[in-house]
């Protein structure tokens, strides 16, 4: 069974640009979650998609957005990049129902210069 995949592995942008990160869930999983892992801050919940709908979002500004496609893959968009957006962005997937175990991808390392 293929795991959660994310692309790209690394992304370097400059302040003010936009970044797009992609995630493919495990087959059969309909929920996708996005987290930001900044140094010393643990995992901060960003967004949760299930069955194509945004179900919940964390305490992040609106320039963090995303969507889920009919095949349940997802993308995270970060507009107007700021230096503090530099972090590891993790995607996880699970079967419907957030009490289920989440399976994590390897992450995308975003560096904003």
């Amino acid at each position: 069974e293929a795991g959660v995949t994310q692309s790209p592995t690394h992304l370097i942008k400059t302040r003010g640009q936009q970044a797009t990160l992609r995630c493919s869930p495990i087959s059969g999983h309909t929920s996708v979650y996005w987290y930001q892992q900044a140094l010393g801050l643990g995992l901060q919940f960003l967004l949760w998609y299930d069955e194509g709908e945004e179900r919940n979002r964390g305490n992040f500004p609106p320039r963090f957005s995303g969507r889920q496609f009919p095949n349940y893959s997802s993308e995270l968009n970060v507009n107007a990049l700021e230096l503090e957006d530099s972090a590891l962005y993790l995607c996880a997937s699970s079967r419907t129902g957030t009490h289920n175990e989440q399976f994590f991808g390897p992450g995308t390392r975003l560096t904003v210069l």
Binding site: G42, F45, W48, R55, A92, Q102, F104
Partner: protein, 114 residues
């Protein structure tokens, strides 16, 4: 606001020492509790989980955790650590308050000395 606290940010132990990592959460309703582990160079993976029933939960690799509702705690334990347990450990809580939230603690870095 709901939160998860892991008070030990860095722990260093010698092999065969006993381990206990603290996790406290703030939410009075029904919760589901998880411990995840991230070994060096690997993805986050589930160590163990508690939904209901026996508050003492056993996970992979000899780890266990005890849910103490009165203390809002879900501490992780292992009687005898190995060098291969060197990793970062995250406690996580899901709760329902209008919609589901999945909250992680800030993590504890464990280093086991051979």
């Amino acid at each position: 606001a709901q939160s998860v606290s892991q008070h030990n940010h860095h722990v260093i132990l010698s092999e065969a020492a006993s381990l206990e990592l603290g996790c406290n959460y703030s939410y009075g309703g029904t919760v589901n509790l998880f411990w995840y582990v991230q070994y060096p160079g690997q993805h986050l993976q589930l160590l163990l989980k508690y939904f209901s029933g026996d508050p003492l939960v056993k996970g992979i690799k000899g780890f266990e955790a005890e849910f103490i509702k009165s203390k809002f705690s879900f501490n992780l334990r292992k009687p005898s650590v190995q060098w291969s347990d060197t990793a970062e450990y995250f406690c996580a809580v899901t709760s329902f308050a209008g919609t589901y939230k999945y909250i992680f603690g800030t993590g504890t870095r464990l280093k086991v000395l051979a």
